[in-house]
């Protein structure tokens, strides 16, 4: 059975590495596709070749990134019928109220502030991975 991967969109290479590590510790060798900005995420999600279009289990999305920010990616996901129901978790260091409101109004499933404390950080990512992976697996078993 093909497993849908987790799509991690994060511009910091360090954080991609740390997030991968945290996910590995919580859900083992789960497939993860990590990209460095919004444009790369869009390229994966909406490839011109329908067979290559990625349908991840969950998108973990940073907000402030070069080329294309997370909010734009979120809006693109929500406005396409194929991806409109994808779980999207915003993972950002922004504590700005308006970012949170913008994200929820644009259809984010969850808005998580990146903790600086790395124990908290890795637990937060672990919970996101575990939650969406198990939920989707249960759904697949029921089907």
């Amino acid at each position: 059975m093909r497993v849908d991967p987790i799509l991690l969109v994060e511009d910091s290479e360090d954080e991609r590495l740390l997030a991968r590590r945290a996910l590995k510790r919580s859900i083992g060798d789960y497939p993860i596709i990590a990209v460095a900005n919004g444009q790369e995420a869009i390229d994966h999600l909406f490839s011109p070749n329908p067979a290559q279009c990625l349908t991840p289990k969950v998108v973990i999305l940073d907000l402030k990134m070069p080329k294309m920010g997370g909010l734009e990616v979120l809006k693109a996901i929500r406005s396409n019928p194929r991806t409109s129901a994808l779980p999207v978790v915003i993972l950002t260091s922004s504590k700005e109220h308006r970012d949170l409101v913008d994200c929820y109004q644009s259809g984010a499933n969850s808005y998580v502030q990146k903790p600086v404390d790395s124990t908290e950080y890795s637990e937060t990512i672990a919970v996101i991975g575990r939650y969406w992976a198990t939920i989707n697996e249960r759904a697949q078993i029921q089907e």
Partner: protein, 323 residues
């Protein structure tokens, strides 16, 4: 014609001559009067024309002055508009600055802390105890720096916030904050005195920040006191209520009272009492935003006392109006 008739005629002639002379004199007089009158009318007309001209000039001058005032007013409005736009732009700049500070400074910290933890967890068999201690020190510093960034951002937010005054119950806020501190440190026994019913017009968010910072300090600095006590009272300062928060904790020397409200100035080392040194700077800004004053007094080993008002006293306002 007889003599008598001739005499009569002579008399009549004489009378006529006399009358004629009189008439001619009257006529001369009238002509002179007419001339004089005409002269006077001409004079008056000239002076009237002159004052008319003056009035016209004055009116023109007034209109010019009014026009000038109108022009200056418009210019002033334009300048105010322009200045407002400039200020709004500066505020937006400050906003985005704060935003990028929070984002850009936190990101490297997450790497420092994250990889320190990764080393501790993934390579613990290759690192000896000294190495692990160093890694723990790195992690503590990273977290302390994160706290400093958060505090700086809070300070900048206080300056940018729009002030909205509404009735605030200081007694209740104080009780809630102290209850929360008690829940966090259930082992501590602190005697509390909170004067009831202290309400004032203030910005609820800012006033909470003020109370939170002063009370957290009081809570922290009484942690080593044998019989800790924290109190909130009201004193009357001229015509305004002055709120007094007093503790019997570590206190401070009045020699350093000027440094108390300066950002990042600390009177205690982190080993004694933890902190970033920004709390009282935040307090002062929040109080100043209300137009009030805040002051501190203390003595080493005998506690600290903070007094604040939430607006200018009436005498201050009167003074400002006289200027």
């Amino acid at each position: 014609m007889n003599q008598q008739e001739r005499d009569q005629m002579d008399r009549a002639q004489l009378q006529i001559e006399t009358l004629t002379t009189e008439l001619m004199e009257t006529q001369r007089g009238l002509t002179a009067l007419t001339f004089e009158l005409e002269e006077r009318v001409a004079e008056r007309t000239a002076s009237l024309r002159e004052s008319n001209q003056k009035l016209k000039e004055e009116v023109a001058e007034r209109e010019k002055a009014e026009e000038e005032v109108r022009r200056l007013n418009e210019e002033l409005e334009l300048r105010v508009d322009r200045r407002t736009h400039e200020l709004e732009a500066a505020n937006r700049d400050l906003d985005s600055f704060a935003y990028s500070v929070s984002h850009d400074l936190r990101a490297p910290l997450r790497s420092i802390d994250g990889f320190s933890l990764a080393l501790l967890e993934d390579c613990s068999d290759k690192i000896d105890d000294m190495g692990k201690d160093y890694l723990h020190r790195i992690r503590r510093s990273a977290q302390r720096m994160a706290q400093l960034i958060d505090d700086l951002l809070q300070l900048s937010r206080i300056v940018r916030r729009e002030l909205t005054r509404q009735p605030v119950n200081l007694s209740r806020e104080t009780r809630e904050i102290l209850c929360h501190l008690q829940e966090q440190n259930p082992e501590r026994k602190v005697e509390l005195f909170i004067e009831e019913g202290l309400t004032d017009e203030a910005d609820p968010t800012l006033i909470r920040v003020v109370l939170q910072n002063i009370l957290e300090n009081a809570w922290k600095y009484t942690s080593k006191a044998t019989q800790a006590r924290i109190e909130l009272r009201k004193e009357n300062h001229e015509d305004r209520p002055m709120y007094v928060i007093r503790d019997n904790g570590a206190g401070f020397s009045m020699a350093y009272v000027d440094k108390l409200f300066v950002p990042f100035q600390r009177l205690h080392s982190d080993d004694e009492f933890e902190g970033t040194g920004i709390g009282l700077a935040i307090v002062r800004r929040a109080i100043h935003r209300h137009g009030g004053t805040v002051s501190a007094s203390g003595k080493i080993g005998e506690g600290a006392c903070f007094r604040f008002t939430l607006g200018p006293s009436v005498s201050d306002v009167g003074g400002a109006q006289c200027e």
